[in-house]
């Protein structure tokens, strides 16, 4: 059971090649951060994982099933994708209707629908917003509406695209608790992000992308410690990781470690 990209390439209609020969395996319960500069091919790669894009060469297998042989709707039950821009995803009149939409579409019983919606709403911290129109609430909260709508489908793999963009401390904390809960349930979380402090705090595995391809795949400490990767993927190290390196200390990612290492 896994998502496998096997020599997967994707060209947009018109010929623009966004991904070339990607090889990547995502296991259940894993947390993987995908990093790299705008235009490196990150969003295209994750869209191949949930069948929004079918590889134009090579294959993508989701739990052994080739995405080319299934519809995106079928794959979306296993791999949930939260869009970068919530306004690309939202189309219902109330937060409740938006989150209930997929469980209803899948024709779950009212009890099962309620259970799924309550769980998703609790994970996303949306209890106070259920009756509101999604377009009347602030952008960062709207992003949580789209996250809850995807969680209500209870996928085995969840993909977030820039989830911390515009979030404050509270929003980031909700997101981090959510990822802990999902991991306990064995759900894999794949996240595209530019927020390296978020990566340093929460991700064991980091995939750095550049020029349509995967440049490096390793632990956060390995990726941030590798000058060549940092430069080529145009990553900005977390401030304290950079400070530690400038002081000649390796493998340090957070405040406690750095305070400990200094006299």
């Amino acid at each position: 059971m896994s998502i496998e990209l096997i020599n997967a390439s994707f060209s947009y209609p018109g010929g623009f090649l966004a991904n070339e020969n990607l090889n990547l395996v995502i296991q259940p319960g894993e947390r993987v951060a995908i990093v790299g500069q705008n235009g490196a091919g990150k969003t295209t790669a994750v869209k191949m994982m949930n069948g929004l894009h079918k590889p134009t060469a090579g294959d993508v297998l989701v739990d052994g099933k080739n995405t080319k042989e299934f519809t995106t709707a079928q794959i979306a039950r296993t791999v949930g994708y939260v869009f970068q821009n919530p306004d690309d995803q939202i189309f219902n009149q109330s937060v409740r209707a938006e989150i209930e939409y997929m469980p209803r579409y899948f024709k779950f019983s009212p009890q099962e629908t309620r259970r799924r919606v309550e769980r998703a709403v609790a994970l996303a911290g949306l209890e106070d917003y259920m009756g509101k129109n999604p377009f009347d609430i602030p952008y960062p909260i709207r992003k949580f509406v789209t996250i809850a709508a995807v969680l209500a489908t209870e996928p085995k793999y969840v993909i977030f695209d820039e989830p911390t963009a515009g979030q404050d401390r509270r929003g980031t904390k909700i997101l981090e608790n959510m990822m802990d809960e999902l991991q306990k349930e064995g759900i894999a979380v794949v996240t595209i992000t530019h927020d390296m402090e978020f990566v340093a705090r929460n991700f064991d595995r980091v995939v750095a992308m550049a020029h349509r391809n995967i440049l490096a795949d390793g632990t956060a400490a390995e990726i941030f410690g590798n000058n060549q990767v940092v430069e080529e993927a145009r990553i900005r190290r977390p401030q304290l990781a950079q400070l530690a390196l400038d002081l000649g200390l390796e493998g340090i990612l957070n405040c406690e470690e750095l305070v400990e290492a200094l006299d």
Binding site: Q37, L243, L247, C255, V259
Partner: protein
């Protein structure tokens, strides 16, 4: 007289029982670069709406107290004239892009076109801002075929083309990668050098630390801190006020708590490096 003055301002959105802004008094000086930070729902965007005249001209609601821009009460400003003085970059670039223009070039030119500027002047201005924002290679593309980060640059360019002397910018870098973010801060910094007054809402405090003259912290509709950047961002209470703090400042406080204090609380990486080296006796 300050460029912008707020005196005891309280504002309720229509039908809202809780005020979005409470008892705000502050001034903004010409030519300074202000960073506005704080938790979501704290009033940052409402303050922006007030300064660009959307409150009270568009949102109505109940505005108490007095807001003057360049000596004229905001209630008395003609919205057309005010929007020529104040440029506003939307939080969500997907909202700002007009959707009615076929190319990025036309999108950036739209504001000037509406003002009826001569063609030559318009073309020169569009080329200038596209160069400044490094989107020359996108000029012939459709604004709807762009990535989030590219849209953000285009949205920013269309406002710069209007050449307003006050810029209110609401999270311009939320969709940008680190290099793009740094570039945008560099551009804003350059604009400040040309005498423009800039109010920037932004969560990326490490960059605010490097570039802004002053920082305002908003919480619950109030300004809970306002002062020189170094003073506000080093404040140990900043996290309790719902705002993010530069990691190096938190590190500075943690060092002090561990009985290994630095000479002061750093807010930038360079400063932290210097202070640690000094503590180690290296410099």
């Amino acid at each position: 007289m300050s460029l912008i003055e707020l005196e005891n301002v309280t504002y309720h959105y229509p039908f809202s029982k809780e005020p979005a802004l409470r008892q705000i008094s502050c001034t903004f000086e010409k030519g300074k670069f202000y960073g506005i930070v704080g938790e979501n729902g704290g009033g940052k965007t409402s303050l922006c709406n007030l300064l660009r005249g959307l409150i009270p001209h568009f949102y109505r609601g109940k505005l108490e107290g007095r807001v003057t821009i360049d000596g004229t009460d905001v209630q008395d400003w003609d919205t057309g004239r005010l929007s020529a003085r104040i440029g506003y970059v939307f939080q969500n670039p997907f909202t700002q892009i007009s959707g009615i223009k076929a190319t990025v070039f036309e999108e950036v030119a739209m504001g000037l076109e509406n003002l009826g500027r001569p063609k030559k002047e318009m073309v020169d201005e569009v080329l200038r801002v596209c160069k400044l924002l490094d989107i020359e290679n996108l000029m012939e593309k459709s604004p709807n075929a762009l990535s989030g980060g590219q849209r953000q640059r285009v949205a920013f360019a269309s406002i710069l083309a209007m050449d307003a002397d006050i810029l209110v910018i609401d999270e311009p870098t939320s969709q940008l990668d680190p290099q793009g973010t740094q570039d945008v801060f560099e551009i804003i910094h350059t604009l400040r050098g040309t005498g423009k007054t800039i109010l920037l809402v932004e969560h990326k405090v490490d960059l605010i630390a490097e570039y802004c003259d002053e920082v305002l912290v908003m919480q619950g509709g109030q300004i809970v801190r306002k002062g020189p950047t170094a003073q506000v961002l080093a404040d140990k209470e900043l996290p309790q006020l719902g705002a993010l703090q530069p990691q190096v400042a938190m590190f500075g406080h943690a060092m002090a708590d561990a009985g290994k204090p630095l000479e002061e609380i750093p807010i930038t990486l360079e400063q932290a490096l210097r202070l640690v080296r000094r503590r180690r006796g290296e410099v």
